[in-house]
Amino acid sequence: MKTYVRPVRWNWWTRNPYYVWYMLREASCVFIIAYALVLLMGLLRLSQGSAAYQGWLESLSHPAAIAFHMVALPLVLYHSWTWFKVMPKTMPYTRVPDRVIIVSGVIAAIVASLVLLALA
């Protein structure tokens, strides 16, 4: 049978907003990694003594570091939200309504963040 196969072009994801949000979710993982590396660096500096840790803290107030965090924060928040949103689909079968799973995940994340902020 003679058929015509339409090629999938590199910009396939620009043709539907749903795919754009998906690609943003996937791309935002780069900022999650960068964020984690910044925190790991802080942990490393902490292990090297208070002077090293102080230096790391000061480096965070550099305009470039602030600019990075301004971009990373919303992307990390979006990334986290997308995974809470699909959490019910990735869990074993349960009769708990999806909304309850999503909302409790988000609340747990907010509470954990607030506790960390209070400790900091």
């Binding site: 058929t3 015509y4 196969v5 999938v8 043709r15 749903y18 998906y22 869990m91």
Partner: protein
């Protein structure tokens, strides 16, 4: 009578070449579906336009098409919602075009067969018939509503990028039988689930579940089976 321009993607195997778009001006009333718009074209304007349809009421799953870039059943979309137009109708994405809006479904059908989409009988129960509680039925019921319309395949970029991927509907139907308390065929189906082209080919885009006209959630079936697949992998070392 209001009118709307419907642009159809056309391709005929006899002429070949690149598919081209052809515009038709279609008069319509408020109760007319996109499918009825296509039927108007075929009956009154251009008899050479080819498309599949049967039931006209979202049961048969034949009339799936890209409607303004979104996979939809033509019978379930209404012309009045696309004013002022033009309305773009293309064959379902990711499938080879056979003729105009008709696509080649053989890849899907081959995969569907591999999933053994039927109850594999197990041991006989003492009472003869296999009884099932509503709670047991709830584990698979939504997946049993699939009508094989292929909208989820047209929505899945992973299938578009790699047609080896088993895809949403087949994996959802596979899960429908695995999750059925009367079935004993899980061990025969897990090899389909476990491969790179099985559930692991899915990156949870989730658009399959959005476009399903029957409320099936293939993304859920696939991602729950990632757990099953991991268990299946780990447990074989204990056997």
């Amino acid at each position: 009578v209001r009118k709307i321009v419907i642009e159809c993607l056309r391709w005929h195997p006899e002429t070949g070449g690149e598919p081209r778009s052809q515009a038709y001006e279609v008069p319509f009333t408020d109760d007319m579906s996109v499918l009825q718009g296509l039927q108007h074209i075929k009956d009154h304007i251009d008899g050479s336009l080819t498309f599949r349809w049967s039931c006209r009421m979202a049961i048969c799953g034949s009339c799936g098409a890209m409607v303004n870039g979104v996979p939809r059943l033509a019978c379930e979309a209404f012309l009045r919602d696309f004013l002022p137009g033009p309305l773009r109708i293309e064959p379902l994405n990711h499938f080879p075009i056979v003729r105009d809006l008709a696509v080649d479904q053989s890849d899907f059908l081959r995969k569907l067969e591999s999933a053994k989409p039927f109850i594999v009988p197990g041991e006989k129960t003492p009472q003869g018939a296999h009884l099932q509680t509503p709670a047991q039925m709830d584990r698979y019921y939504q997946y049993s509503k699939c009508i094989n319309c292929l909208l989820c395949y047209a929505a899945c970029p992973q299938y578009g990028l790699n047609e080896e991927f088993t895809g949403p509907a087949v994996l959802a139907l596979l899960h429908r039988y695995n999750a059925d308390s009367r079935d004993a065929g899980k061990a025969e189906r897990m090899p389909v689930v476990n491969t790179e082209s099985g559930v692991w080919g899915c990156t949870l885009v989730g658009y399959c579940s959005e476009v399903c006209p029957k409320g099936v959630d293939p993304a859920r079936a696939i991602n729950q089976n990632k757990i099953e697949s991991a268990k299946d992998y780990a447990l074989r070392f204990l056997k």
